[in-house]
Symmetry: C2
Subunit: 452 residues, 2 copies
């Protein structure tokens, strides 16, 4: 593990953060003027390269009136720059068969492309141009507003999606992490060009960006291309500006026993049951990962076996964790017949209680460790995954773990570690609940009652 | 291109179908007794292997009362064999971090796993055991019936999914390709153990199976493992049985101007507009692929530009082709505000008409060829995609194309080829339409009227 020092982060510095084997897995970072970081991971056995620019801004950075602005802006950066129209932007990568897209999360936004290695300079050019030189014209704001409203409507039509937003609201309430990334119809309709453009100019600053590339790439060449792209539009900063530190803070989230039910005429009832969990940097996260795998991470997990295999109560049932800088959550999702919500909920709560009291078995530990290790290694073959790993590590953690270090962390988890984290997290809070489906009247009242 | 001969297909024969470069892209086939084919493609630069068994049976092989039986059976093969419980099956691959799953389509069913190369023997064992020795017990039938009903309910809750089933019904009517892969609540409720088990025993015969593996694999070893797995449960056939020929036939599908509207209280109206297109083996498929890319295949495509970029009418809009042995279809999907369905439909029809009359531009041709070529090459790095390509090629085409041959086919497409196929396919039938959304009364009547 490489802990960053002020020294390493000085603009102009290039540092090898991880030394790979046979050229694979070498991670290097160069800091450019303005604190712009360029991080690469090499995988010389492939012919592709993934390239992404990570921006340390997400929906949690929005005030209530700006809710949805980060994601709206992400759309607007595809609409044209000083030198490229929207069609120029999309044509460039379509023409070489590259994939280009972007996503907005609660703590970051990422613009990325995956291309054949020979087309990497093109990807660097186009994505850097979008990031630094988008016009965000009034006419783009007007047209794209409708597109974002359509995206909100499409999401509304998928209750299995919406229930996760509802659960975030249950746990985080009116605070920023409780608001939807897409915003609402009202906030999107109210946003002005000045607000969105101001947000862009304030937030997309070089010290807040991480440029990441992975695959068959040469670090020095990538740095030269990025530098040229940013310099040509005067988008680098002063030589002495250091990169922004990873988002920090701690927040003692304590929501317990809260229930929200949205009555909708869907076929299934969609539910998420869960509680506050661990922040991103928490050392217990490896143990929580193992616990999550054993409880609801695969077909052999307890929830899959109890809810689906033995009783046929759901098609989709799983558990998951979400981690932010200062807090996190643990959730169980299930979709089932509305008349079976109480039965499904009862089984999920029972399994939570069992694990909180007794932990998991030795066999489950071994299987979960195998599951996490295997999927970690399998994930190393995809340049897009590598790029995401190295970009997020730089932006959110400020440290990089090699595959061997990662596997070591997973292998080191003991039964006691899992039992402690199960007691503290799953046993530490009365679960909260979000439900979307045809659940109203007495059934809704009983559900709410049962959670108290 | 390798055309198969009766000679090559004789049990006991091993043949190199494609010679790779530096060991990558070598495709070999061995035919085992009973006509069981084992096909592998090597990619020695990775550490993973993908393994799949393709069965030449899909929902189009079902009679109306058996509708959904193929997919139901796919679920049941995970429920236990003579020597493994459901938990044994899922635990085996979870424990090594492998992914295992299956899918059922209209013409085939596939059971697959992706694992680290050293775990390939385990994957071969487990998947072969499921295929050959599942018990399909009455109790499994009972529990899994509920799971399949939940899957149907979940799909019903996603109108963007259901509209594709509705469009298949519009084009194919009451014939097998017009029925949903999942079946209906009624057919699933009526299916008995005898029907499903009978279907299994009749259809899962060695001559109807293709075993495919790709990645860091050794052909001879894979063949030995598969032979051992099948032999040990006496699941190979007679030495002289030849593999089943690819599904054939031609069907002059002629649906034109048909409209189906499902009135539902969704946020968006989801529509598919389209017409009969090309069967899988049609030589014009490369030209249709180019046409599809230019019309609705990416962000630079005409539909994306006209519907989304310029007018903000949809978040998701694209065109696609589906090809079966004897027929195929071309479709345009869009999701939009219900009040804008007529406008969106008007634009899509206009773009269809323009392309049918004038074809595409030279610039669009170049971009589409680049797009298809680039994504073909990028797809070669994923062992799962390679396994699917080689498995489907063997089962459905009976021939294998190397990447260079594929790229050659794409590069050879001319403007005239595209114009001909545009005229014949897009201009050959009055489009048909499927809509799901809050569209009823006068608006529905106007829509239906407009399509005549």
């Amino acid at each position: 593990m490489t802990q960053p020092t002020a020294q390493d982060q000085r603009p102009g510095t290039t540092k090898t953060l991880l030394k790979g084997i046979d050229g694979a897995g070498t991670v290097r970072r160069t800091v450019l003027p303005g604190g712009l970081r360029v991080v690469t991971e090499t995988l010389p056995t492939v012919r592709s390269a993934a390239f992404g620019i990570w921006v340390g801004v997400g929906s949690r950075d929005e005030t209530p009136v700006l809710n949805g602005a980060t994601h709206y802006l992400e759309h607007l950066l595809f609409k044209g720059t000083k030198t490229r129209s929207a069609l120029d932007i999309s044509s460039a990568l379509d023409a070489v068969g590259g994939e280009m897209n972007a996503f907005t999360a609660k703590e970051y936004t990422c613009y990325y492309a995956r291309v054949l290695d020979r087309d990497l300079p093109l990807a660097v050019d186009v994505v850097s141009d979008m990031l630094t030189s988008s016009l965000v014209r009034q006419e783009d704001i007007d047209t794209e507003r409708d597109v974002v409203l359509e995206e909100i409507a499409m999401t509304e039509d998928d209750p299995g999606d919406v229930v996760h937003d509802l659960f975030a609201k249950v746990l985080y309430g009116e605070s920023p992490l409780g608001r939807p990334v897409l915003g609402t119809v009202d906030t999107i309709n109210a946003l002005t060009r000045d607000q969105v453009y101001g947000f862009y100019r304030r937030r997309y600053r070089p010290e807040n960006l991480v440029v990441a590339a992975a695959g068959n790439v040469d670090h020095a060449k990538v740095v030269r291309q990025v530098r040229r792209a940013f310099e040509s539009v005067d988008a680098l900063g002063r030589a002495e500006t250091a990169p922004a530190a990873p988002r920090g803070g701690t927040r003692a989230l304590k929501t317990a026993g809260k229930v929200e039910i949205l009555d909708r005429p869907t076929e299934q009832a969609h539910l998420v049951l869960g509680m506050p969990a661990l922040a991103r940097n928490d050392d217990r996260r490896w143990a929580l990962g193992v616990l999550n795998a054993a409880l609801g991470g695969g077909m052999s997990s307890r929830l899959f076996q109890e809810v689906r295999e033995k009783r046929g109560l759901a098609y989709s049932v799983y558990s998951y964790t979400s981690a932010y800088a200062d807090s996190g959550l643990f959730g169980i999702y299930a979709g089932c017949q509305p008349k079976r919500v109480e039965e499904v909920l009862g089984i999920c709560r029972e399994e939570l209680a069992k694990v909180a009291e007794h932990g998991i078995t030795d066999e489950e530990l071994k299987r979960a460790v195998g599951q996490m290790s295997g999927s970690t290694v399998l994930g190393m073959e995809d340049t897009g995954s590598l790029m995401s790993r190295v970009g997020k590590a730089e932006l959110c953690y400020g440290t990089h773990l090699s595959v061997d270090e990662l596997l070591g962390k997973i292998a080191a988890v003991t039964l006691d570690d899992v039992r402690s984290v199960a007691t503290e997290v799953l046993g530490g809070f009365r679960p909260s609940l979000a439900v979307i489906g045809p659940v109203a009247g007495k059934r809704a009242a009983r559900l709410t009652e049962a959670m108290q």
